[in-house]
């Protein structure tokens, strides 16, 4: 085994080194494919993250929707009576209302307003994200907000600053001034940076239709539920549906998959990534097949002088692995360097796990693409290759 690897490695490395220009070209093609795959993966992660970040970071197990809302948060309407009912269900540790809407954050100077997700949460209850700076919200009616780190980065606002939100209520634009009391980690929702207001404040300042303007009956979209025992999701979910009128429940994962456009977006990007990998397999397979066809006689000589088939196969595999590893390394380095030039506002996130998976897939495309050529090399008959067959 050691002897086989030693001879195969020697032949493979010598050939790569003596033809380094040609092999480097293939490595560069692999590097470009790597760059493309990693960016598609990072874009998928970035866009997905922008859509699901708040939901995925929730300290909750279940989301309660209005029945038949198809798990669409924006389509669900739940009043406070339902919150009380949810909190009474056995196994529920805590529950909080969540209201979602959009607003424009008016920034000083000539800077265009920043579109943000305006989320209404209940201070001290499930749904209020933890702050990394400043303090949590205190009461449901206070004129104060939390902003997420994305909002802070884009607006340059700090704890203690006042923010002006512009929203449309009825047919008029209304301006509300609130004070920032805390900054949370990234909590994007619907691809927008977020602002969290106490629920009753949110209900007062959120965009409203003409009919809603003078109604004071706070309606949330969904209720976020923290369980006493995270393993009891199914049981408590069943109880909620049975004991609370006209609701349906979903786990966080189901809720994320149901976010508008999320699944379609992710599957589109995954398909693109898959196709890019497939193209990589074809490119590498094509290159090595042509390469093997060009050196049939040479492999014939090697076999005629006593080189065993497993050495020929191992040399091909080592060669493919070497140039794939070099290509993927160059591609990964280029991706890293490019990623440094992107501002955090661009939805490209190099997540460790996703990138590692993409790199593993890329490392596999070389040997996969080369399988046909390796099989061809092993089947070369020295007699035919050397023109000795009649």
């Amino acid at each position: 085994m050691v002897q086989t690897l030693s001879i195969a490695g020697y032949l493979a490395v010598k050939e790569v080194w003596r033809n380094r220009g040609r092999f480097l070209l293939v490595s560069l093609v692999i590097a470009l494919i790597t760059l493309l795959v990693l960016f598609i993966a990072a874009l998928g992660e970035g866009l997905g993250n922008g859509n699901r970040e708040y939901i995925s970071k929730l300290n909750a197990e279940l989301i309660v929707y209005q029945a038949k809302s198809d798990y669409l948060i924006a389509a669900s309407r739940l009043g406070r009576d339902r919150l009380a009912a949810v909190r009474r269900v056995e196994g529920v540790a805590d529950a909080g209302m969540l209201g979602t809407s959009s607003a424009n954050l008016v920034l000083p100077g000539n800077v265009p307003a920043l579109k943000v997700a305006l989320l209404g949460v209940e201070p001290g209850h499930t749904g209020e994200p933890p702050v990394v700076e400043g303090r949590q919200l205190v009461t449901g009616l206070a004129q104060e907000v939390l902003i997420d780190s994305n909002t802070a980065y884009r607006s340059k606002l700090k704890v203690g600053d006042s923010v002006t939100l512009r929203v449309t209520q009825g047919t008029k634009d209304e301006f509300y001034e609130l004070r920032i009391v805390g900054i949370t980690a990234g909590q994007q929702y619907s691809l927008q940076p977020s602002i969290f207001a106490p629920f009753f404040t949110w209900d007062r300042i959120r965009p409203k239709s003409e009919a809603e303007v003078n109604i004071s009956n706070p309606i949330a979209n969904v209720i976020l539920v923290k369980l006493e025992d995270g393993a009891q999701v199914d049981v408590v979910s069943q109880r909620l549906v049975q004991q609370v009128n006209n609701v349906e429940t979903a786990t966080l994962n189901t809720a994320i998959q149901a976010l508008p456009g999320y699944s379609a977006q992710q599957s589109t990007l995954n398909t693109q990534g898959g196709f890019t990998l497939f193209i990589g397999i074809l490119v590498i397979g094509g290159f090595f097949q042509i390469q093997i066809l060009q050196k049939v006689a040479q492999i014939g000589v090697l076999k005629a002088i006593g080189t065993a088939n497993h050495i020929v196969a191992a040399a091909s595999v080592i060669q493919i692995v070497v140039i794939t590893v070099i290509g993927v390394a160059i591609g990964a380095l280029l991706s890293f360097l490019f990623s440094l030039t992107f501002p955090p506002t661009v939805p490209i996130v190099f997540n460790g796990t996703t990138s590692a998976l993409a790199v593993v897939a890329l490392l596999l495309i070389g040997p996969l693409g080369g399988l046909v050529s390796i099989r061809y090399a092993v089947r070369i008959e020295p007699l035919k290759a050397l023109g000795l067959s009649s």
Binding site: Q3, I7, Y10, L11, K14, E15, W17, R18, N19, K295, A297, Q298, G300, V301, L302, K303, A304, I305, G306, T307, A308, N309, P382, L383, L386, G387, L388, S389, S390
Partner: protein, 246 residues
């Protein structure tokens, strides 16, 4: 017979090779028995289709005969499986071919060392021997050249060194002068013959160029798959060389 057999490095007994074709059975090698002693250089000649290349392929353990025995150092090649034949080619046979002889990405010395490497015998002594052999073949200045940087004659000489470096029992050469001009062809075959005699190997050269038979000890002539004549004396061989007949 039994006593005489032990003196031969290579002996074949009634070797037959048939092929099935659309027009019926083709007898490529027909009952060929021959012997080559250690230190003897033999030419296998014959017109196109005479079976000499098929015979060489059988002797090289690249092709199984339909029947018959091929004894190399007492081992019957015809009874070996694929793995054993690969091992035999690596350890006991040296080759030179018409063209594409060398591994193009290995230098001259690396090509020669490859045989030792394959046999797990590449040590300091082996490396020294490879260099000495190349120097003897007039390639002292070309050791680190790639095949593409050498002439056809130089490449053939590297192939000769590769064929001999691992001390094989049998050295086979298939048309070693086919791509060389006359002067270089003479040089190559003369060197080859000299080394075979000196190192006591059994050497067989297939050639269509009868002038090259000047340097061999015997000439085996084949026609229609049969061994039809053996030129064993110097006079007979020189008559063949000057007559130029197959």
């Amino acid at each position: 017979m039994g006593t005489a057999m032990n003196n031969y490095a290579l002996e074949t007994r009634s070797v037959i090779k048939t092929y099935q074709s659309d027009s019926g059975v083709i007898q490529a090698v027909d009952d060929v028995s021959l012997q080559v002693a250690a230190g003897e250089f033999v030419a296998l000649v014959g017109p196109s289709g005479s079976g000499k290349t098929t015979m060489l392929s059988i002797l090289a353990a690249l092709l199984q005969p339909t029947s018959g025995q091929i004894l190399l150092d007492g081992q019957d090649l015809a009874k070996m499986d694929d793995r054993e034949r690969v091992l035999l080619r690596r350890e006991k046979i040296g080759f030179t071919f018409q063209a594409n002889n060398l591994v193009p990405y290995l230098s001259a010395v690396e090509n020669v060392e490859l045989m030792l490497r394959l046999n797990n015998r590449l040590d300091k002594t082996g490396k020294l021997r490879a260099r000495e052999l190349l120097a003897r073949l007039g390639l002292g200045e070309r050791m680190h050249n790639l095949p593409g940087q050498m002439s056809g004659g130089q490449q053939q000489r590297v192939a000769i060194a590769r064929a001999l470096i691992h001390n094989p029992s049998l050295v086979l050469a298939d048309e070693p002068t086919a791509s060389l001009d006359t002067e270089r062809a003479y040089q190559v075959v003369e060197t080859f013959a000299g080394l075979i005699h000196e190192q006591k190997r059994a050497g067989i050269m297939v050639t269509h160029d009868l002038r090259m038979c000047e340097f061999v000890d015997r000439v085996l002539q084949m026609r229609d798959g049969k061994l039809v004549r053996i030129y064993a004396t110097r006079d007979e061989i020189m008559e063949l060389v000057t007559g130029g007949r197959h």
